[in-house]
Symmetry: C2
Subunit: 337 residues, 2 copies
């Protein structure tokens, strides 16, 4: 009998330890301070782009994923496959219908998405913008390159490349806010700081390799003394490169190209000397901090709360994710990334 | 005997459950993805200001504390008690000597702290700047009001208050980067957008109530038609308010005041009509995201790693924490904060 009692005693003791341990764990979960920033795997955050196949978005998505891993939440990547505003509106509407925990969006057009963005915010879905903004929308923040400064940096580089004088042109996307600002930064800096350089033309490359190739041919026909081209995006940049490379092989005068971003095609052309320089953006930062911001809005961790936006913004309103100039000297490091 | 065996079996079963549970927890701890962003309470992050008694820093410190609570790390608040650059250099040097996990610093002077900041970064201590920057230092990021835009907003407000014409003056801190930018934003916007308003004088209020009071008296003596004063910081703003209040009580012509920030003295003077408007800053954001950035640098959670700063910045380089105009209509909300 005594042995039995001893064994029962042990059993009860083990059970008590188990209960005690269970309760102390429960306490721990009840104390958010000790737990760190951690969500639920059922929380789903959506990242939406346009031209979703672009290599450019990979690093942004990597940042978005890294933040999701760090904070134990789920993500989904959606995008309009084409450079088509109607398609992006549809993708955004579909995302809203599924009531995600938050939406990070790169706005293809600075005006056309405003109504749908505002609807998401009014329905209580946090929205932050990255890469390209929609200044009049209710989105809580924009994480992007300071595109005006990036354009100004491109102007400074161009001046060094062409010896401070000559005719230059810009190939861009005239409807997209970030490209408008790159173009302004470039042309205004030329006017203010490099009076012997003239921006003779600004044309639409539609973000496509064939269109940008054709625009380059036309520019060179119209302006036979053209010394340089600033192309504000990478896909078209390779098209410009192809034309200039063919000219170089035919021993015609050198046209300096400054491009944007660091996809493989651009890096290859920097390495072989076709493209003189490109502007690299802080893409990982855009994705990582977009998810952080959405997480903080969803969990109402901001001061003031997301609802009090009439007083002070609950989040930093504008985040400059940084740039760097890539050229033949440092191009190797960008392959390594 | 059978009963005994049954009880032993139960005991072994309970023990196995215990072991199994222990192991599964161990696995969970070994998987950083599931754990959220969580540091150690022994990690100590330091926030350093100048004029450390200022009410203004309270909300920044609250953001710093909230982030520390959320991520389970420790903080310390240090500051030069006076508006004295030598004292702030000493405070920063003392902080570095203790090898903290990171330092968030508001730089009283945009040049004088550069060497000490760089020493901290070279020794592997992450440094981010908030509120006031040091543009040529190796600090990883600046989280601050876009002070130029804030000054431009103040100019627009002033124009509305004085009916688009007249003489105005600025009282500021001429050695501190954020105040230089507020003054530039104000004066350049007046020149470009409001040609009938003249900025007749810009003087040093030393961030002190008596000095700003005296400067206001002198300005009003020198410029009897002065219609408005933009004071770029709150302590002196109350001094300006005292002079203007006395004038109003003596039935002299009204001088419109636009101040900066939202300490109690300023809010009281907005409520009683002495100060017409003030520019509120996103101070909580400065503190909260400064600690987030330091945490990410300390734990090497950025891409690229903090050491690869020659390629792309590991963090967003510049964060605009936002502003809002406070006036009689919305001043109540700022008391509530």
């Amino acid at each position: 009998m005594k042995k039995m009692l001893f064994v029962y005693g042990l059993l009860i003791f083990a059970f008590l330890i188990y209960v005690f341990q269970y309760m102390s764990e429960d306490n721990k979960q009840g104390d958010p301070a000790g737990m760190g920033l951690r969500g639920e795997i059922s929380e789903r955050y959506v990242m939406i782009t346009f031209q979703s196949g672009l290599e450019y978005w990979k690093s942004v998505l990597k940042g978005f994923e890294d933040a999701a891993d760090a904070m134990n939440v789920s993500i989904e990547y959606r995008g309009a496959t084409n450079y088509d505003i109607h398609e992006q509106i549809t993708v955004l509407e579909q995302a809203i219908a599924k009531k995600p925990a938050g939406i990070a969006l790169s706005a293809m057009n600075s005006h056309a998405l405003t109504a749908v963005i505002n609807r998401a915010v009014d329905e209580g879905i946090p929205v932050v913008l990255f890469d390209a903004g929609a200044p009049n929308s209710k989105a809580h923040s924009l994480l992007a390159t300071n595109n005006y400064n990036a354009g100004a940096t491109a102007a400074k580089q161009m001046s060094e490349l062409i010896g401070g004088q000559g005719e230059v042109a810009v190939i861009t996307l005239p409807g997209q806010q970030n490209h408008i600002e790159r173009t302004q930064g470039f042309t205004e800096t030329m006017k203010e700081s490099y009076p012997d350089i003239e921006v003779v033309d600004t044309v639409d490359g539609k973000g496509r390799i064939e269109v940008s190739r054709q625009q380059t041919e036309e520019l060179l026909g119209k302006h036979p003394n053209l010394a340089g081209i600033f192309i504000t995006e990478a896909t078209g940049g390779v098209g410009v490169g192809e034309v200039v490379k063919a000219r170089m092989e035919a021993n015609k005068s050198r046209v300096q190209i400054i491009s944007f971003d660091t996809n493989k095609g651009t890096l290859d052309m920097i390495q072989d000397g076709t493209i003189s320089a490109s502007i690299a953006q802080g893409t990982w930062n855009m994705g990582y901090w977009s998810l952080q911001y959405l997480f903080h809005l969803h969990h109402e961790l901001t001061t003031p709360a997301p609802s009090a936006t009439d007083v002070v913004s609950p989040l930093p309103v504008l985040v400059d994710t940084g740039i760097n100039v890539v050229n033949k000297q440092n191009v190797e490091q960008y392959y390594a990334k």
